[in-house]
């Protein structure tokens, strides 16, 4: 998980490339079916990770991390809304 977020040569985001490598993704997609239980379990995992992150972040970094996560969520929401 200590991989770079951006390609050092092009500056292009690389986080998307790690999605397919995640054990959680591989496990859920193994049968090509996504069940309600799998989504609920994964939502719990994300919640737990966010709790851990919030507790581990130094006070001076937390506002930046909060802004980055929420701005990503804003961009995603805007993009999806524009497609509707």
């Amino acid at each position: 998980m200590d991989k770079p977020w951006f390609d050092p040569k092009t500056g292009i985001l690389m986080l998307d490339e790690y999605v397919a490598e995640m054990p959680s993704f591989k496990k859920i997609m193994a049968d090509n079916v996504v069940t309600d239980d799998e989504i609920l379990t994964h939502a719990d995992r994300v919640t737990e990770l966010l709790h851990q992150l919030e507790g581990a972040l130094p006070a001076n970094v937390k506002p930046l991390a909060t802004e980055a996560i929420t701005e990503l969520a804003v961009l995603y929401a805007l993009h999806r809304l524009r497609e509707v």
Partner: protein
Amino acid sequence: MAMFESSKILPIVLSDLTPVANETMDYFQKQGYEVAGEQTITGGWAISITKGNLFKTVVGLKTALKISIEPSPMVTTVKADVGLFGTQGIPLAIGYLVFWPVLISQMWGMVRQAKLDDEAIGFVEASLKAHAPHAEGQSSVVGEQAAYCPACGAQIPQGAKFCPGCGAKRS
């Protein structure tokens, strides 16, 4: 106009756009691009060009500059945007990626920086002009001085304040 797209409406009509598409594909192939093209049901062409250092692979699918050459009765529309190599449209699975809006924006930024969209549209325009005989025939350059609606491509009569095709107000 779409968010990540350049386009140009040209007052040129060709009965067959295949020679223009072939020249465009040859041009980029000679520059080391991987190229794919297919004719659309409207008689237009959808061309994809990609190169490793400019476009990245997203969940196993290569991204590319998509060059679309679409005919209509009075004009030919040339568009350049970012999409997937060899396919039309973006599969739903990619649209659901949280990072997709960031990626498409970054790739479009690189395309604009390299002026690849301008180069593609400029080449297609030159090729269209080269294939359009000035005499009456199966192809023609339609009134170079005429005005065309940027929204729908319809010809706008001189002095008209609104487009007769879609009703858009002339700017």
